[in-house]
Symmetry: C2
Subunit: 351 residues, 2 copies
């Protein structure tokens, strides 16, 4: 049997309460006593039983996720994952809630953050836009002692406690590299569709893409579709019309529906298309060959990571960063995971 608080208390010659104080470094223990207890802890090789601890402090952690509203499938997927995690949340002593705000709207985002601060939640996870007001709101959360993690798109110098998402520069580079190889010697320029240059993840992906593109290949000026299907559709349609020799398209944002509609309208099967986020749409497009590769960040992993990090921060525990790194998945037609149909059961820990 592994050592318990009782064993520590005994070998250190103190009471349980004192051991507990040292363990959770709470005030009210003399230096010598503390030293004795700590000695006992290391000599016995004690490791705390987290499950028992959680059981004893029957505290719950209200966490709020702030996400862009609208029909962006990736964001709705994130929301679904939060709800899914919510089913299991009582076991982890968390209570999850979701607030949605208009996309790319700094003011609304700030309001939502302040509302969460008012409610005195134990942690906030948000998909943020890059604006000074937002950084200020994050600073207020910090000042109120509320852990804050950025989700999907980072805001590094805002004082957020942690970023949960992929390395977006690497994502752009991956797209560029893949596009380069798929195109080979085939001539023609490539187009890039983004949502908005006002979110950092889109800017970073663009940078990475440019960096990985051979200099001999022309990259057209970025099209900003505001992650809106209709706008994206017309931008891509116009682009296809204006550039009959176009060789490829990289969509680094969320306007996949518009993109795919435009592609199927033109029926240009010779185009190399790379998009982000595996959704029902991109999956179907991958299967029909309209899209060649999809880069993905797993929404379930991100949500669970955000929860773990917020909980850790909430009780002052360290975050094991290696464990919280979010990988960039590459999907092609052949390594698609089983579809949502076969996948209905709420997952918990992930693989």
């Amino acid at each position: 049997m592994r050592p318990t608080v009782h064993d520590i208390a005994e070998t250190a010659g103190v009471s349980l309460a004192t051991v507990d104080r040292v363990l959770n470094d709470r005030p009210g223990v003399r230096g010598v006593t503390k030293a004795k207890v700590e000695a006992a802890i290391v000599s016995l090789g004690y490791v705390r039983d987290v499950a028992a601890a959680n059981l004893a402090k029957s505290r719950v952690y209200p966490l709020v996720f702030i996400l862009p509203e609208g029909d962006n499938p990736f964001m709705r997927g994130l929301e679904a994952e939060v709800r899914r995690a919510g089913l299991h949340s009582p076991a982890e002593r968390t209570r999850l809630s979701v607030a949605t705000v208009p996309a790319f709207d700094a003011g609304a985002l700030v309001k939502a953050i302040d509302a969460a601060i008012m409610e005195d939640v134990s942690g906030i996870a948000a998909v943020v836009v890059d604006a000074p007001e937002v950084s200020a709101a994050i600073a207020r959360a910090h000042a109120a002692g509320i852990p804050f993690v950025t989700l999907v798109s980072d805001l590094a110098n805002s004082g957020r406690d942690h970023f949960v998402g992929v390395d977006n520069i690497a994502a752009g580079r991956t797209a560029g590299s893949l596009m380069g190889r798929f195109l080979g010697e085939r001539p023609g320029a490539v187009a890039v569709l983004a949502g908005s240059m006002r979110v950092r993840d889109h800017r970073e992906r663009l940078d990475g893409f440019h960096a990985a593109m051979p200099v001999t290949r022309t990259v057209l000026p970025v099209l900003e579709g505001q992650d809106d299907p209709d706008l994206s559709f017309s931008l891509i349609s116009d682009c296809l019309a204006a550039n009959p020799t176009l060789a490829g398209i990289y969509n680094l944002g969320a306007g996949n529906r518009g993109l795919i509609k435009a592609l199927s309208a033109r029926g240009r099967a010779d185009l190399c298309v790379i998009a982000h986020e595996l959704t029902a749409e991109t999956r179907a497009a991958l299967e029909t060959g309209l899209v060649d590769a999809v880069l993905n960040q797993d929404a379930g992993h991100e949500v669970r990571s955000a929860i773990r990090v917020l909980r850790a921060k909430a009780d002052g525990l360290p975050v094991i960063s290696a464990q919280e790194r979010i990988r960039l998945d590459i999907f092609i037609k052949d390594n698609l995971p089983a579809g949502p149909d076969e996948d209905e059961q709420p997952g918990a820990a992930g693989n």
Copy 2:
């Protein structure tokens, strides 16, 4: 607060012990009583607190992993992940151990399985070879009531309770598809290096690869390197010498060291090379451009999945299959995860 066993006892008008008997359907409860309790359970929407349950029954589950010995880096990686999981195992009330046996040796494997059965472990996870004696040993484990999962390579009709690993046919298809695109119109045959056609995962990958290859592309007869670096080296060296116009190599087995040595000896940068399993060697080869893509199954995910499944089976709980699916990762130079150097901290749950 969500309902507890006390609430059930109260609304059903019985004692805690009876509630527990019904909950764990243990004998010794009259039909009527049972019905009353069950009614209370559903009406209150009770869900058992697993952590508390585990705390109370301070039972431990001894689990054994049986892996091939030798310097196969992927297998050593698996072993390392088992040890890593072992650090956290007390919290999950499991005790992990590893047994290694000579690779591709059915007799040794059978001995190890029988030894585990004798020790009366709570579960066995093994990388198995495809042989009737092995199936028989698995059947003995089953008869002894010991859950058995196959790891990495399956043995479907053996009575194993579960398979933890990737879809190897899809893996082969992915390799073929990627190779086809990377090669484009470039002429030349492709070679395939395997470990042994006696393990099912290698056969399945080969099948998938052939299926995804355009008929216009010649695939040379498979080379069996026994996952041995020296043998793999000479097979590939000879092959390169004999086929000066070779366009690509797919290594579906573990002989990466030999392969890479042969490649760097020849200095043929124009070759498209796809291999399996992200190890220090394949990572380096990816970075230097000697290898173009690496298909990977995450050893950490597999180990944790095996543990979850064995535990679930051990206490008769259902396995959430959607949660236990192991994905096939594609890595290219640009989406390599942070290296082992930055990654030293033992991870627990994974993303």
